[in-house]
């Protein structure tokens, strides 16, 4: 497994789409705060929530879809998946190596703004903008966790679609509209409602409000931590089973 993780990590480091996405996000993180009016700045948690986390949750969460298209689906369209699958490694291991490194890549993408935009803002406007440490660390942890959970869903569909363009288009639409779609389904099929309300689509936006939750109850722990982990495991297993039986063209 170690050599497979090294291989995927090597490919991620050489993946042009990954670096382009990071560059765009880094540029945005550095330059966007300069457009903010310094006279009307909220402080602390509100600045972090309103100017950084909201952009990350609404828009940047779609970016890993682009990486999924290039890092996973393109292996099929380029034909390199044939070399990978015939390398004498078990399909399950191959899938989880790919998923693990893609998840790390997604988490890195999702963490650029919360870390670098906050850093740039602190330099430009002063350190009184720094959110509370517990709030900051909790959001960093949860953003990474949700990135990994969404990555498992993206990897699953990228393995089905096997075409970069189709995967990117489908995943962007799916991730963007998935919440609304699930909400609609939940309103029509009542027994699915609790499941849908606790899905990562519905709970992810709540990351912004963690500091308002106060002390976490047991249910919060389940909602915010266990659900993304279960999502990762379920879609990881589904994806690996799909890949195991997949005929590679």
């Amino acid at each position: 497994m170690g050599n497979l993780l090294k291989t995927e990590w090597y490919k991620l480091r050489k993946d042009r789409s990954f670096w382009v996405l990071l560059l765009i996000l880094f540029g945005f993180a550095v330059f966007y705060p300069l457009l903010i009016n310094p006279d009307a700045l909220p402080t602390g948690n509100d600045f972090y929530r309103g100017h950084i986390l909201s952009i990350n949750t609404d828009i940047i969460r779609l970016f890993p879809a682009i990486l999924a298209g290039f890092f996973i689906s393109s292996e099929y369209s380029l034909g390199t998946m044939k070399s990978i699958a015939s390398s004498g490694n078990s399909r399950i291991r191959l899938y989880f190596a790919k998923l693990t490194i893609f998840s790390i890549g997604s988490a890195i993408i999702m963490l650029v703004l919360p870390i670098f935009m906050l850093g740039a803002s602190l330099i430009y406007f002063g350190f009184n903008l720094m959110p509370d440490w517990p709030f900051f660390l909790q959001t960093i942890g949860l953003i990474a966790l949700y990135a990994v959970a969404f990555a498992s869903i993206m990897a699953f569909f990228s393995t089905i679609l096997t075409d970069s363009g189709k995967s990117i288009a489908f995943l962007i639409l799916f991730i963007a509209l998935g919440g609304s779609l699930l909400e609609y389904i939940g309103s029509k099929i009542s027994f699915l409602e609790p499941l849908i309300l606790h899905s990562i689509f519905m709970t992810q936006p709540s990351i912004l409000l963690i500091d308002q939750v106060g002390q976490w109850s047991g249910e919060d722990v389940v909602t915010y931590i266990v659900v993304p982990i279960v999502t990762f495991i379920v879609f990881g297993i589904l994806g690996s089973l799909l890949y195991r039986k997949k005929e590679i063209k």
Binding site: Y10, L78, S83, S86, N89
Partner: protein
């Protein structure tokens, strides 16, 4: 030690309503160069994909290095190198980076093998050039280099000389011969360029419409190929008439370029030349010849098929 690196038994693969492979019993001896011949869609790539683990048989079994079941098959596949339906490369990586990715995948220790393998296929000077900017021939060489990483015992090469220039074809042929003769690597090679295959293969398998029609050695092919006298004269029509009247045979073909292929008289060429010159014909070319692989293949599958 297994005498055969690959043995299939009633191996079949069905796609929807089409039998892509139909009860194929194929055997590849260790140390051989097996030329796998067939038209497009005959089933060559399907068989190779089954062996490589990219697709799964509908029926039948196969043994690779004597093993036929997972997880032993995974280990057996580590001993093979493949090019399947063209070289599979990362276009934004250099040749060395492509090899490095595959070195890590195969778990080969030490980076020295990358430079060594690049030199073996003549790509040591490509430096920072990305694979997407390679010529088709260079891509084929890089694909071969990837297949050769890790010193495989069995190479499976699907159309490895497509797109190579004449010098490149010769170089790859010599390289494959060297790998086979000096390192004992068994090679399964499918190619449309039958003349090239004829110079390389020690064994042949002819596949048509998913059925393996025949397996034979190069020597058997030579013995089975029809031999004939190649005759070119100043007047082919008159020559044909003389052959019919004086030699009492119609077992000959007049080719569009006027060359006559006369079968059945290879052992008595003097009798033929005398008959022709006695009638005043000027002989321009006169030599015994054998059918090539292409002619044998065409005859074996029942003539030229279109569409």
């Amino acid at each position: 030690m297994n005498e055969y690196v690959l043995k299939t038994s009633q191996l079949s693969k069905k796609y929807q309503n089409k039998m892509a492979l139909d009860q194929v019993n194929l055997a590849i001896k260790e140390g051989s160069i097996y030329g796998f011949i067939g038209q497009n869609g005959a089933g060559k790539s399907t068989l190779i994909r089954l062996i490589a683990g990219l697709a799964f048989p509908t029926a039948g079994t196969f043994e690779l290095f004597g093993v036929g079941h997972e997880p032993e098959l995974h280990e057996a596949r580590k001993r093979i190198g493949t090019i399947i339906e063209g070289p599979a490369l990362y276009p934004n990586m250099t040749a060395a980076e492509n090899l490095e990715a595959h070195r890590l995948l195969k778990g080969i220790p030490g980076k020295e093998c990358v430079e060594k393998t690049l030199a073996l296929v003549g790509l040591q000077d490509t430096e920072k050039k990305k694979a997407k900017n390679f010529s088709l021939g260079m891509k084929q060489r890089l694909g071969l280099a990837i297949a050769l990483l890790g010193d495989p015992e069995f190479l499976i090469l699907d159309e490895p000389i497509n797109g190579l220039d004449p010098m490149g074809v010769v170089e790859i042929r010599e390289l494959l011969k060297k790998l086979n003769q000096e390192y004992g690597i068994t090679i399964l090679i499918s190619s449309h360029i039958l003349s090239e295959l004829h110079l390389l293969a020690t064994h042949y398998g002819i596949i048509h419409n998913g059925e393996l029609l025949e397996q034979l050695t190069a020597q058997e092919l030579n013995e089975k190929s029809q031999h004939y006298l190649h005759i070119k004269v100043d007047n082919p029509e008159k020559c044909a008439s003389i052959i019919e009247s004086k030699l009492a045979t119609n077992n000959f073909e007049v080719m569009p370029n006027g060359v006559i292929k006369l079968f059945g008289f290879v052992d008595v060429p003097g009798k033929v030349s005398q008959a022709l010159t006695n009638e005043g014909l000027v002989i321009e070319q006169f030599m015994p010849m054998g059918e090539d692989l292409e002619a044998y293949f065409t005859k074996r599958i029942g003539g030229v098929h279109h569409g």
